[in-house]
């Protein structure tokens, strides 16, 4: 019996979900939100609950649907990456992150969490495709929301690196720390474009896989930092040298 439990342990440690073809990974990733939406809908059909409770359930359905739709939209964009040229332009990361925070705040509030920006007043501009960068940060934020503790604040951070040659956008969650094994595996796989990457056992890693593809398309790279009480997933992109041309 221990062997059987061992087999189960092997997939709970991630091997079942490792290296999945993206279609299977997508199917796995969409199961959870669809299952939740279905449970809520079925309960509402035969609902003995108060109007307030029904409203809460409907809100959960719409927000969960939006999150799942973001994933399908990212997948579509990911598949078409090789067919398209993406315009890279100087972007104000602070403005972009403020827009993302505005969009995500209802979702975070519904989970009794907050999201805020941590940035200098005038961060360096960076070179990126606005849509792809937005999708990366949304993806990291969705991930952070899932793993951060209730009543905590997820931080979207902007910092200059390499003497101002690069800009890092990170999303810091306050949840369980990644184990060193997971961190080491994650760091090595973040540079291997052929595999999905998951930081947590229940994830297929599709989100990070897509984020890495988007970062690659902008000559950037993604990474993760482990903290005692959570993680920061980040994307590093080239800073704009627009200022130096003035």
């Amino acid at each position: 019996m221990s062997a059987q439990i061992g087999e189960h342990n092997s997939f709970t440690n991630g091997s079942l979900l490792d290296g999945l073809p993206s279609v299977i990974a997508a199917a796995h990733e969409l199961k959870s939100p669809l299952a939740l939406i279905r449970q809520l809908s079925l309960t509402l059909e035969d609902c003995p609950f108060s109007a307030e409770e029904q409203k809460r359930m409907l809100k959960q359905i719409s927000l969960t649907s939006e999150s799942a739709l973001r994933l399908t939209s990212d997948l579509t964009r990911s598949v078409r990456l090789s067919d398209a040229l993406f315009k890279l332009e100087p972007i104000n990361p602070k403005q972009l992150c403020e827009d993302i925070i505005h969009e995500l705040t209802p979702f975070f509030s519904a989970h009794d969490c907050k999201v805020r920006l941590k940035s200098r007043k005038h961060p360096l501009l960076l070179i990126a495709n606005r849509d792809l960068l937005r999708r990366i940060i949304m993806n990291f934020s969705d991930n952070a929301l899932h793993y951060t503790e209730e009543n905590t604040t997820v931080e979207i951070q902007i910092a200059a690196l390499a003497g101002g040659k690069k800009v890092r956008l990170g999303v810091r969650d306050y949840g369980p720390a990644l184990s060193m094994d997971v961190l080491n595996s994650l760091q090595s796989r973040l540079v291997d474009a052929s595999t999905t990457i998951h930081a947590r056992p229940q994830s297929s890693g599709l989100g990070l896989y897509i984020a890495r593809q988007f970062a690659d398309a902008m000559n950037g790279n993604i990474g993760v930092k482990r903290h005692r009480n959570g993680s920061t997933f980040y994307v590093d992109l080239q800073a704009s040298n627009q200022l130096s041309l003035l």
């Binding site: 997939f11 299952a35 793993y147 056992p201």
Partner: protein, 123 residues
């Protein structure tokens, strides 16, 4: 009716809330936790009559919790209902020695399945 207590171990907060909603509406007393460690602490404090357990949890998995429960005489007899997206990968007979009495597939179950399963595993 004696208050039957159920511990739901599920790391999706809204699904956990949904399970609690359904079970409480059926008259059960429900506590929810989001990881295996909190589950152990909760079981230490007050032993539930049934545990409803997700498989892929953040941190230690359901199987670590099952091992832990089986390590003690009093907790080894708590009936466990696995509720998972991976039901098709699991074989109930393999897991029965670990206290698992039922496996529910989150993708196909209806809310009442949870209540029916709880009723069926109670002594």
């Amino acid at each position: 009716m004696k208050n039957v207590s159920i511990l739901v171990v599920e790391d999706d907060n809204w699904l956990s809330e949904q399970f609690a909603r359904v079970l409480e509406n059926a008259g059960y007393v429900v506590k929810t936790v989001s990881n295996a460690l909190s589950a152990i602490e909760e079981i230490d404090d007050e032993q539930p009559d049934v545990v409803v357990l997700d498989v892929l949890l953040t941190g230690s998995t359901a199987f670590a919790l099952l091992h832990e429960l089986q390590s003690y005489g009093d907790t080894g007899s708590i009936p466990v209902i696995l509720c998972t997206n991976l039901a098709s990968e699991l074989v109930l007979d393999d897991l029965k020695p670990y206290g698992v009495k039922k496996i529910l597939d989150k993708t196909t179950m209806i809310p009442d399945d949870l209540i029916i399963s709880v009723r069926s595993v109670l002594p």
